[in-house]
Subunit: 408 residues, 2 copies
C-alpha cells in the first residue's frame, strides 16, 4: 500500500554521464530478486556523503567514513537482505572484503569503494553469495540502468524510488538522477536508509560536504515514518563533472545555488516517495511549523507531531481528534512555549488559537480534511520567523502486520 505513488517510468530516468550501474540476483536473503547493486563512478568526480547518527551504526557505515577520509570513491556496492549492523569485528572484515572484491573487478583501490548494506540487523553478511554476485553486477554495468538500480535496493518498499530532471546551465544542460530505498525504521538524522543522487555538474570537492548536508536537511532529514533511526542511513551525492561547464569551485558561484535547487528537488521527490511508501501508510501528511525562534525549534515541534502514535492513528482513522496535535506540540521540549500564541490549521481549516479550539472550528470541517489522502498540518508558534517542513504518514494496522512479520 502506498499513497499516490507510482513507479518511475524507466525512460524518464536520465543517464548521468560518468555513472554506470549494474545489478545482480545474489540470493543474499531470498532467491530470485535483485539484491546487489554496483555503481561505477568515472575518474574526476566529487563525492559527498552523510550517514546515520545511530551509535550502533553498521559496519559498512564505518568503512564508508574511513574510505571517504582517504580517497575519492570510484565505486559503490550495495546489498539488501542483511544490514551488516550489530556484527562486530567480523562485520567490519566482511565490509572490507566486499570493497576489495569490487576493487579487483573494476581495477581500482579498495579504499576507492564505498560499501552499503540494508536489511536485518545482527545477522552475518553471507559473503559467499555476495562475492558470487559481484561479477554478474559488474558485467551489467551501463549508464541507463537507474530503474533496475532502484529495484535492486528495495526491501519492504512496495515501489521502486527514482527521480530525474534536467536543467539548462550556461550553454549546456545538467542532469540530476537519483534513487532511494526505505519504508520503515525511518527517522533519518542524516539521510534516509539509502539514497544516491548523481549529477554531471563540475563541483569542486571542497564544496561537497556542505552541499550534501544542505540537500539532506531539506529532504531526507525531514521525513519520518515511525521515529526509529536506522543503523545504516546513508546518502551519497555525486558530481561527475562530465558536463561541458566551467568548474563550480566557489560557494559564491550563483550556478551552485541553481544546481543545489535541482538536487533538492530530486532528493525531496525521493524522500517523499519513502513516506508515501511508508510501511502501512494510507495518508501522506505534510507538517509545516512556522513562527519558531529557530529552525531547530520548528523541527522539534514538527517531529513531535510526526512521531506521535496517537496523532498518526487519528489520521489513519480520519478522526479529527486534534487535541492530540496540541499535546504533541506541548511535548516538543520548548520550555517557555506560550500556548496562547499557538495556532493550528488543517489545510484551510483554522483549528486552534488562544490556547484552545478556534471559535469558528467545526468538527465536520476537520473530518473533511482528515478524510483526504494528502493533508497539510500547519502550526504557527508565534515566537519568531523560523520555519520548517517535515513529511510523514499515518500509523495503520498494516504497519503492525508488516513489522510483526518482517523476517518470516
Amino acid at each position: 500500500m502506498s499513497v499516490n505513488l507510482s513507479p518511475p517510468v524507466s525512460a524518464d530516468l536520465l543517464p548521468v554521464p560518468g555513472i554506470d550501474l549494474g545489478w545482480a540476483e545474489a540470493g543474499i536473503r531470498k532467491a530470485g530478486r535483485k539484491d546487489l547493486l554496483l555503481i561505477r563512478i568515472a575518474a574526476g568526480a566529487a563525492v559527498g556523503a552523510v550517514f546515520t547518527q545511530n551509535r550502533f551504526c553498521a559496519a559498512p557505515v564505518l568503512v564508508c567514513r574511513e574510505h571517504l577520509a582517504r580517497a575519492t570513491p570510484r565505486a559503490l556496492v550495495v546489498n539488501t537482505g542483511c544490514a551488516n549492523a550489530g556484527t562486530g569485528d567480523s562485520g567490519l572484515a566482511d565490509a572490507r572484503r566486499s570493497c576489495a572484491a569490487v576493487a579487483s573487478l573494476l581495477g581500482c583501490r579498495a579504499d576507492e569503494v564505498l560499501p552499503f548494506s540494508t536489511g536485518v540487523i545482527m545477522e552475518p553478511l553471507p559473503m559467499d553469495r555476495l562475492l558470487g554476485g559481484l561479477p554478474h553486477a559488474a558485467e551489467r554495468l551501463q549508464a541507463d540502468s537507474w530503474f533496475a538500480a532502484a529495484e535492486a535496493i528495495m526491501t519492504t518498499d512496495t515501489v521502486p524510488k527514482a527521480a530525474s530532471l534536467r536543467i539548462p546551465m550556461d550553454e549546456t544542460v545538467i542532469t540530476v538522477t537519483g534513487i532511494a530505498k526505505g519504508a520503515g525504521m525511518i527517522h533519518p538524522d542524516m539521510a534516509t536508509m539509502l539514497g544516491y543522487v548523481a549529477c554531471d555538474a563540475p563541483i569542486a570537492p571542497a564544496l561537497m560536504p556542505g552541499l550534501v548536508r544542505r540537500v539532506a536537511d531539506r529532504s531526507f532529514n525531514r521525513i519520518c515514518v515511525d521515529g526509529d533511526t536506522s543503523t545504516n542511513d546513508s546518502f551519497v551525492l555525486i558530481a561527475t563533472g562530465k558536463a561541458a561547464l566551467a568548474p563550480i569551485d566557489s560557494a559564491g558561484d550563483p550556478r551552485l545555488a541553481v544546481v543545489e535547487s535541482a538536487l533538492v528537488r530530486v532528493a525531496q521527490a525521493l524522500a517523499q516517495a519513502i513516506v508515501r511508501d511508508g510501511e502501512g501508510a494510507t495518508k501522506f501528511i505534510t507538517v509545516t511549523v512556522t513562527g519558531a525562534e529557530a529552525e531547530a525549534e520548528a523541527l522539534a515541534v514538527a517531529n513531535s507531531i510526526a512521531r506521535s502514535p496517537l496523532v498518526k492513528t487519528a489520521f489513519f482513522a480520519s478522526d479529527p481528534n486534534l487535541g492530540r496535535i496540541l499535546a504533541a506540540i506541548g511535548n516538543a521540549g520548548i520550555a517557555d512555549l506560550d500556548c496562547d500564541r499557538v495556532q493550528l490549521f488543517l489545510n484551510d481549516v483554522a483549528v486552534a488559537r488562544d490556547g484552545g479550539r478556534h471559535p469558528d472550528y467545526r468538527e465536520e470541517d476537520g473530518r473533511r480534511v482528515m478524510q483526504a489522502a494528502e493533508i497539510l498540518v500547519r502550526v504557527d508558534l508565534g515566537r519568531g520567523d523560523a520555519a520548517t517542513t517535515v513529511w510523514t504518514c499515518d500509523l495503520s494496522h498494516d504497519y503492525v502486520s508488516i513489522n510483526a512479520d518482517y523476517r518470516s
Copy 2:
C-alpha cells in the same frame, strides 16, 4: 486485553483514616458509567503532587499548581470523559467553578480543592453535568470506596487499578492505598495520567515535595505505553497523619524510608498495572539498563527501547528480531557510546556482546523468551554503575484499533 492483570478485590483495599471517597454517574461523556470522583481529605494532612511537563498542560493542572501554592488541599475532584486541556481561558474558568462548587458542598475554601480531568483534549467541559453530579458524589463520601473510586476514573482502561498494603511501625500500623488510571498517551514525565496514593503516616508538609518526586521517579515516571506524554498527568500523594505515631518531620528519620518504601510498592503496582492494561498490550516488558554513567543515561537507553515501534511490534510477533534493540540503544543519544562494551540479555539468554551477536546465542532461545507474556530486557552499557528500570508493553493491532476508534 491486559497482561496478567486481575481487578483488585474490593475488600483488600484498606481504608486510609482521614480519606473519604464518593462517586457519581454524571453523564459527562456517556450515560450510565461512573465518571466523577470526589476525595475528601481530613484537616491536618500533608499533600504533595507532581504534574505533566507537557506545555499544553490542562486547565485543571494549572489550577492545581495555583491552589497548592496557597493552601493544603481538603478535597480532590476528578472527572473523566473530557480532559479540559486545550480549552483556553474558558477551560480555566470551568476548572475554578468546579472547585468552588466542591468547596460549597464540603464547607471549605475553593483554593483547598484540586481539580483533575481526563478524556478528550480540546473539548469544553460540560459544566452543567459535572455540577449536577457533584451532590451525588458528596452524598456517597465514605472511607471504604476505593474500588468504586478506581472505577470512577477509568477511560480506555479495561481493569480498575488499585493497590493497598499495611506495614507495622512503632506500636501501630501504617496503611497505604492508592488508585490510578491510564492505558494510552502514557509516557509520564512526572506522573501517570492520574494517580492518587494516600497513607495515614504523619509526614511533615516540608518533606512532601521531595517524597512525591522520589516515589514518582521509581514508579509512574518509569513506564511507557506509546511514548506520548499526556496533557493531564497528575500524581498526588496524601499523608493524613491519622496514625498514632510521633510526627515524621525530618528527612533523616529512618521511619521516612520505611514509609517511602511502602509508598513505592503501591505506586509501582499501580504504574505496572497501567502498562499491563496498556492499549492493545499482549506482553509486559521490563527493561533494565545497568552499567550507565548516570541514571539519566540509563533512562535514555531504556526509554529509547521502550518507545521504539519496531521493538514493540517484534515483541507483539514474538519475533526475536533483536537487532532492533541494538538500533534503539544506538539511538539513545549517548555520543561516546562504545558498542563493543554493550551487552544485551533477554531473560537468561545472552544475545549480544562485542558489538555483535553473542557466539552462544541461538535463535530458538530468543524465540522461546519472546513467546512469554512477561519478558525482561537487560542491557549493560559497560560505562559505570548507574542503572534504572522501565516497564513497557508491545505494540499490537489493537493499539491501532483502540486509538483509531477512541472517540467514536
